[in-house]
Symmetry: C2
Subunit: 125 residues, 2 copies
DNA sequence: TGCTTAGTTCGAGAAAACTCGAACTTAGCA
DNA sequence: TGCTAAGTTCGAGTTTTCTCGAACTAAGCA
Protein backbone atom coordinates (compact mmCIF):
# COMPACT_ATOMS: atom_id res chain seq x y z
CA UNK A 1 0.00 0.00 0.00
CA UNK A 2 3.01 2.32 -0.24
CA UNK A 3 2.09 5.38 -2.28
CA UNK A 4 4.06 5.73 -5.46
CA UNK A 5 4.56 9.40 -4.98
CA UNK A 6 7.00 10.42 -7.64
CA UNK A 7 5.00 9.97 -10.78
CA UNK A 8 1.78 11.34 -9.51
CA UNK A 9 1.08 14.68 -11.01
CA UNK A 10 -1.34 17.09 -9.51
CA UNK A 11 -4.19 16.50 -11.90
CA UNK A 12 -4.16 12.72 -11.93
CA UNK A 13 -6.09 10.93 -9.21
CA UNK A 14 -4.00 9.38 -6.49
CA UNK A 15 -3.81 5.63 -6.68
CA UNK A 16 -1.80 3.74 -4.16
CA UNK A 17 -1.77 0.92 -6.62
CA UNK A 18 0.95 -0.50 -8.82
CA UNK A 19 1.70 1.66 -11.79
CA UNK A 20 -0.17 1.92 -15.01
CA UNK A 21 -3.05 -0.37 -14.44
CA UNK A 22 -5.54 -0.34 -17.26
CA UNK A 23 -8.66 1.59 -16.42
CA UNK A 24 -11.39 -0.42 -14.76
CA UNK A 25 -14.35 -1.29 -16.87
CA UNK A 26 -17.48 0.73 -16.13
CA UNK A 27 -18.70 0.10 -12.60
CA UNK A 28 -20.89 1.82 -10.05
CA UNK A 29 -19.10 4.23 -7.76
CA UNK A 30 -18.95 3.50 -4.05
CA UNK A 31 -21.81 5.84 -3.33
CA UNK A 32 -23.95 4.22 -5.95
CA UNK A 33 -23.66 0.73 -4.55
CA UNK A 34 -27.11 -0.58 -3.72
CA UNK A 35 -27.65 -3.28 -1.17
CA UNK A 36 -30.47 -4.89 -3.15
CA UNK A 37 -28.31 -5.15 -6.24
CA UNK A 38 -25.35 -6.46 -4.31
CA UNK A 39 -27.41 -9.10 -2.57
CA UNK A 40 -29.05 -10.05 -5.83
CA UNK A 41 -25.68 -10.53 -7.44
CA UNK A 42 -24.63 -12.82 -4.62
CA UNK A 43 -27.84 -14.81 -4.71
CA UNK A 44 -26.34 -17.29 -7.12
CA UNK A 45 -24.03 -20.14 -6.24
CA UNK A 46 -21.67 -19.62 -9.13
CA UNK A 47 -21.25 -15.93 -8.43
CA UNK A 48 -20.88 -16.57 -4.73
CA UNK A 49 -18.15 -19.03 -5.63
CA UNK A 50 -16.42 -16.47 -7.81
CA UNK A 51 -16.33 -13.81 -5.13
CA UNK A 52 -15.36 -16.24 -2.42
CA UNK A 53 -12.59 -17.81 -4.44
CA UNK A 54 -11.22 -14.43 -5.40
CA UNK A 55 -11.09 -13.44 -1.77
CA UNK A 56 -9.62 -16.63 -0.40
CA UNK A 57 -7.23 -17.73 -3.09
CA UNK A 58 -6.23 -14.75 -5.14
CA UNK A 59 -3.15 -13.58 -3.23
CA UNK A 60 -3.43 -10.02 -4.43
CA UNK A 61 -3.44 -10.90 -8.09
CA UNK A 62 -6.37 -10.25 -10.30
CA UNK A 63 -7.61 -13.26 -12.13
CA UNK A 64 -9.02 -14.13 -15.49
CA UNK A 65 -12.20 -16.10 -15.72
CA UNK A 66 -10.21 -19.02 -17.01
CA UNK A 67 -8.38 -19.17 -13.68
CA UNK A 68 -11.53 -20.34 -11.95
CA UNK A 69 -11.75 -23.49 -13.98
CA UNK A 70 -15.50 -23.46 -14.39
CA UNK A 71 -16.90 -25.91 -16.87
CA UNK A 72 -19.31 -23.50 -18.47
CA UNK A 73 -19.52 -21.88 -21.86
CA UNK A 74 -17.61 -18.65 -22.14
CA UNK A 75 -20.70 -16.60 -22.79
CA UNK A 76 -22.19 -17.78 -19.52
CA UNK A 77 -19.13 -16.69 -17.64
CA UNK A 78 -19.20 -13.30 -19.31
CA UNK A 79 -22.77 -12.99 -18.16
CA UNK A 80 -22.00 -13.71 -14.52
CA UNK A 81 -18.86 -11.65 -14.32
CA UNK A 82 -20.72 -8.74 -15.81
CA UNK A 83 -23.49 -9.16 -13.27
CA UNK A 84 -20.94 -9.02 -10.48
CA UNK A 85 -19.23 -5.99 -11.92
CA UNK A 86 -22.43 -4.08 -12.55
CA UNK A 87 -23.59 -4.75 -9.02
CA UNK A 88 -20.26 -3.41 -7.78
CA UNK A 89 -18.81 -6.58 -6.34
CA UNK A 90 -15.81 -6.93 -8.55
CA UNK A 91 -13.56 -4.60 -10.52
CA UNK A 92 -12.41 -5.73 -13.93
CA UNK A 93 -9.48 -4.54 -15.95
CA UNK A 94 -8.47 -5.43 -19.46
CA UNK A 95 -4.94 -6.71 -20.01
CA UNK A 96 -4.58 -7.34 -23.66
CA UNK A 97 -7.02 -10.10 -24.38
CA UNK A 98 -7.52 -11.00 -20.76
CA UNK A 99 -10.02 -9.44 -18.45
CA UNK A 100 -8.93 -9.73 -14.85
CA UNK A 101 -11.12 -9.41 -11.81
CA UNK A 102 -10.72 -8.60 -8.16
CA UNK A 103 -13.18 -8.06 -5.36
CA UNK A 104 -13.85 -4.44 -4.44
CA UNK A 105 -13.01 -5.22 -0.87
CA UNK A 106 -12.46 -1.72 0.43
CA UNK A 107 -15.53 -0.29 -1.19
CA UNK A 108 -17.73 -3.10 0.02
CA UNK A 109 -16.39 -3.06 3.54
CA UNK A 110 -16.99 0.64 3.66
CA UNK A 111 -20.55 0.53 2.45
CA UNK A 112 -21.66 -2.88 3.73
CA UNK A 113 -19.43 -3.91 6.61
CA UNK A 114 -19.75 -7.59 7.33
CA UNK A 115 -21.05 -8.54 3.93
CA UNK A 116 -17.84 -10.07 2.66
CA UNK A 117 -17.45 -12.01 5.87
CA UNK A 118 -20.68 -13.76 5.01
CA UNK A 119 -19.25 -14.71 1.66
CA UNK A 120 -16.03 -16.11 3.06
CA UNK A 121 -17.96 -18.00 5.70
CA UNK A 122 -20.12 -19.60 3.07
CA UNK A 123 -19.27 -23.27 2.98
CA UNK A 124 -19.02 -24.63 -0.47
CA UNK A 125 -21.63 -27.00 -1.75
CA UNK B 1 -27.14 -32.45 19.63
CA UNK B 2 -25.20 -29.61 21.15
CA UNK B 3 -24.33 -30.04 24.82
CA UNK B 4 -27.10 -28.54 26.85
CA UNK B 5 -26.79 -25.49 28.99
CA UNK B 6 -24.53 -26.89 31.67
CA UNK B 7 -22.59 -23.72 32.07
CA UNK B 8 -25.47 -21.36 31.94
CA UNK B 9 -25.70 -19.68 35.31
CA UNK B 10 -28.86 -18.07 36.49
CA UNK B 11 -29.91 -16.64 33.21
CA UNK B 12 -33.52 -16.67 32.39
CA UNK B 13 -34.49 -19.03 29.64
CA UNK B 14 -33.94 -17.53 26.25
CA UNK B 15 -37.57 -17.88 25.38
CA UNK B 16 -39.61 -15.76 27.70
CA UNK B 17 -42.40 -16.07 25.24
CA UNK B 18 -46.03 -16.27 26.03
CA UNK B 19 -47.29 -19.82 26.09
CA UNK B 20 -49.52 -21.45 23.56
CA UNK B 21 -48.33 -19.76 20.43
CA UNK B 22 -49.80 -21.28 17.32
CA UNK B 23 -47.37 -23.45 15.43
CA UNK B 24 -45.22 -21.68 12.90
CA UNK B 25 -46.03 -22.23 9.28
CA UNK B 26 -43.63 -24.52 7.44
CA UNK B 27 -40.16 -23.04 7.32
CA UNK B 28 -36.61 -24.26 6.81
CA UNK B 29 -34.79 -25.33 9.94
CA UNK B 30 -31.75 -23.40 11.07
CA UNK B 31 -29.43 -25.95 9.57
CA UNK B 32 -31.19 -25.79 6.25
CA UNK B 33 -30.84 -22.06 5.83
CA UNK B 34 -28.97 -21.34 2.62
CA UNK B 35 -27.07 -18.14 2.12
CA UNK B 36 -27.99 -17.93 -1.57
CA UNK B 37 -31.66 -18.23 -0.79
CA UNK B 38 -31.49 -15.74 2.04
CA UNK B 39 -29.66 -13.20 -0.07
CA UNK B 40 -32.07 -13.76 -2.91
CA UNK B 41 -34.99 -13.10 -0.64
CA UNK B 42 -33.43 -9.85 0.49
CA UNK B 43 -32.60 -8.75 -3.02
CA UNK B 44 -35.89 -6.95 -3.33
CA UNK B 45 -36.69 -3.52 -1.96
CA UNK B 46 -40.12 -4.44 -0.67
CA UNK B 47 -38.88 -7.51 1.15
CA UNK B 48 -35.91 -5.63 2.51
CA UNK B 49 -38.37 -3.07 3.81
CA UNK B 50 -40.46 -5.75 5.46
CA UNK B 51 -37.56 -7.29 7.32
CA UNK B 52 -36.09 -3.95 8.28
CA UNK B 53 -39.38 -2.57 9.51
CA UNK B 54 -40.05 -5.69 11.52
CA UNK B 55 -36.70 -5.36 13.19
CA UNK B 56 -36.79 -1.67 13.89
CA UNK B 57 -40.39 -1.01 14.73
CA UNK B 58 -41.99 -4.16 15.92
CA UNK B 59 -41.36 -3.93 19.67
CA UNK B 60 -41.54 -7.65 20.23
CA UNK B 61 -44.93 -8.09 18.68
CA UNK B 62 -45.47 -10.05 15.56
CA UNK B 63 -47.24 -8.18 12.85
CA UNK B 64 -49.80 -8.81 10.19
CA UNK B 65 -49.09 -7.76 6.67
CA UNK B 66 -51.71 -5.08 7.01
CA UNK B 67 -49.57 -3.44 9.69
CA UNK B 68 -46.98 -2.48 7.11
CA UNK B 69 -49.36 -0.30 5.18
CA UNK B 70 -48.15 -1.29 1.75
CA UNK B 71 -50.29 -0.16 -1.12
CA UNK B 72 -50.19 -3.42 -2.99
CA UNK B 73 -52.73 -6.08 -3.77
CA UNK B 74 -53.07 -8.71 -1.11
CA UNK B 75 -51.93 -11.50 -3.36
CA UNK B 76 -48.69 -9.65 -3.99
CA UNK B 77 -48.06 -9.36 -0.29
CA UNK B 78 -48.78 -13.04 0.21
CA UNK B 79 -46.21 -13.75 -2.46
CA UNK B 80 -43.47 -11.71 -0.81
CA UNK B 81 -44.14 -12.86 2.73
CA UNK B 82 -44.06 -16.42 1.54
CA UNK B 83 -40.76 -15.81 -0.20
CA UNK B 84 -39.32 -14.46 3.03
CA UNK B 85 -40.65 -17.34 5.05
CA UNK B 86 -39.44 -20.01 2.64
CA UNK B 87 -35.99 -18.49 2.59
CA UNK B 88 -36.01 -18.56 6.37
CA UNK B 89 -36.03 -14.87 7.10
CA UNK B 90 -39.32 -14.63 8.90
CA UNK B 91 -41.47 -16.91 10.99
CA UNK B 92 -45.20 -16.75 10.52
CA UNK B 93 -47.94 -17.87 12.83
CA UNK B 94 -51.63 -18.00 12.25
CA UNK B 95 -53.88 -16.22 14.78
CA UNK B 96 -57.40 -16.77 13.68
CA UNK B 97 -57.61 -15.00 10.39
CA UNK B 98 -54.42 -13.09 10.84
CA UNK B 99 -51.00 -14.30 9.88
CA UNK B 100 -48.33 -12.61 11.94
CA UNK B 101 -44.67 -12.38 11.13
CA UNK B 102 -41.44 -11.85 12.97
CA UNK B 103 -37.83 -11.95 11.92
CA UNK B 104 -35.94 -15.12 12.83
CA UNK B 105 -33.31 -13.03 14.52
CA UNK B 106 -31.64 -15.71 16.58
CA UNK B 107 -31.49 -18.24 13.80
CA UNK B 108 -30.11 -15.74 11.34
CA UNK B 109 -27.55 -14.33 13.71
CA UNK B 110 -26.39 -17.82 14.45
CA UNK B 111 -26.01 -18.89 10.86
CA UNK B 112 -25.14 -15.60 9.17
CA UNK B 113 -23.76 -13.21 11.76
CA UNK B 114 -23.79 -9.66 10.53
CA UNK B 115 -26.46 -10.19 7.92
CA UNK B 116 -29.25 -8.50 9.82
CA UNK B 117 -27.00 -5.57 10.59
CA UNK B 118 -26.79 -4.95 6.89
CA UNK B 119 -30.55 -4.87 6.71
CA UNK B 120 -30.97 -2.43 9.56
CA UNK B 121 -28.23 -0.23 8.12
CA UNK B 122 -30.00 -0.10 4.81
CA UNK B 123 -31.24 3.42 4.33
CA UNK B 124 -34.68 3.56 2.92
CA UNK B 125 -35.22 4.65 -0.66
C1' DT C 1 -77.83 -16.20 9.64
C1' DG C 2 -75.15 -13.22 6.91
C1' DC C 3 -71.51 -9.59 6.79
C1' DT C 4 -66.84 -8.07 7.23
C1' DT C 5 -62.04 -8.98 7.44
C1' DA C 6 -57.58 -10.82 6.57
C1' DG C 7 -55.86 -13.36 4.45
C1' DT C 8 -55.31 -17.66 0.74
C1' DT C 9 -54.82 -20.14 -3.98
C1' DC C 10 -55.03 -20.06 -8.83
C1' DG C 11 -53.89 -18.49 -13.23
C1' DA C 12 -52.21 -15.52 -16.67
C1' DG C 13 -49.42 -11.92 -18.61
C1' DA C 14 -45.10 -9.33 -18.31
C1' DA C 15 -40.54 -8.85 -17.13
C1' DA C 16 -36.23 -10.53 -15.80
C1' DA C 17 -32.61 -13.92 -15.45
C1' DC C 18 -30.17 -18.10 -16.92
C1' DT C 19 -28.01 -20.92 -20.48
C1' DC C 20 -25.81 -21.59 -24.42
C1' DG C 21 -24.34 -21.75 -29.39
C1' DA C 22 -22.67 -19.02 -33.08
C1' DA C 23 -20.26 -15.51 -34.89
C1' DC C 24 -17.15 -11.89 -33.96
C1' DT C 25 -12.89 -9.07 -31.96
C1' DT C 26 -8.35 -8.43 -30.97
C1' DA C 27 -3.50 -9.23 -28.82
C1' DG C 28 0.31 -11.97 -29.15
C1' DC C 29 3.12 -14.78 -31.67
C1' DA C 30 5.49 -17.98 -34.99
C1' DT D 1 0.65 -13.40 -42.81
C1' DG D 2 -2.33 -16.21 -40.55
C1' DC D 3 -3.23 -19.01 -36.30
C1' DT D 4 -4.58 -19.27 -31.53
C1' DA D 5 -6.47 -17.67 -27.17
C1' DA D 6 -9.47 -15.21 -24.26
C1' DG D 7 -12.59 -13.14 -24.27
C1' DT D 8 -17.03 -10.33 -26.37
C1' DT D 9 -21.90 -9.49 -28.40
C1' DC D 10 -26.07 -11.23 -30.19
C1' DG D 11 -30.09 -13.86 -30.23
C1' DA D 12 -33.08 -17.53 -28.96
C1' DG D 13 -35.11 -20.80 -25.86
C1' DT D 14 -36.04 -21.86 -21.16
C1' DT D 15 -36.97 -20.89 -16.62
C1' DT D 16 -37.96 -18.00 -12.90
C1' DT D 17 -39.90 -14.09 -10.77
C1' DC D 18 -43.05 -10.31 -10.35
C1' DT D 19 -47.65 -8.49 -10.49
C1' DC D 20 -52.25 -8.60 -9.98
C1' DG D 21 -57.25 -9.75 -10.51
C1' DA D 22 -60.64 -13.10 -9.39
C1' DA D 23 -62.50 -16.36 -6.72
C1' DC D 24 -62.23 -18.64 -2.40
C1' DT D 25 -61.80 -19.61 2.97
C1' DA D 26 -62.43 -19.13 7.59
C1' DA D 27 -62.85 -16.31 12.10
C1' DG D 28 -65.45 -13.14 14.59
C1' DC D 29 -69.48 -10.88 15.42
C1' DA D 30 -74.11 -8.44 15.41
Amino acid sequence: MAPAAERVTIETPVHDEPENLPDPLPEPSVDDLQLEKVLGALADPLRLTIVRKLMLESENYDHTCGWFGFDRPKSSLTHHFKALRQAGLIRQRQYGLERRSRVRTEDLNQRFPGLLDLVTAWHEV
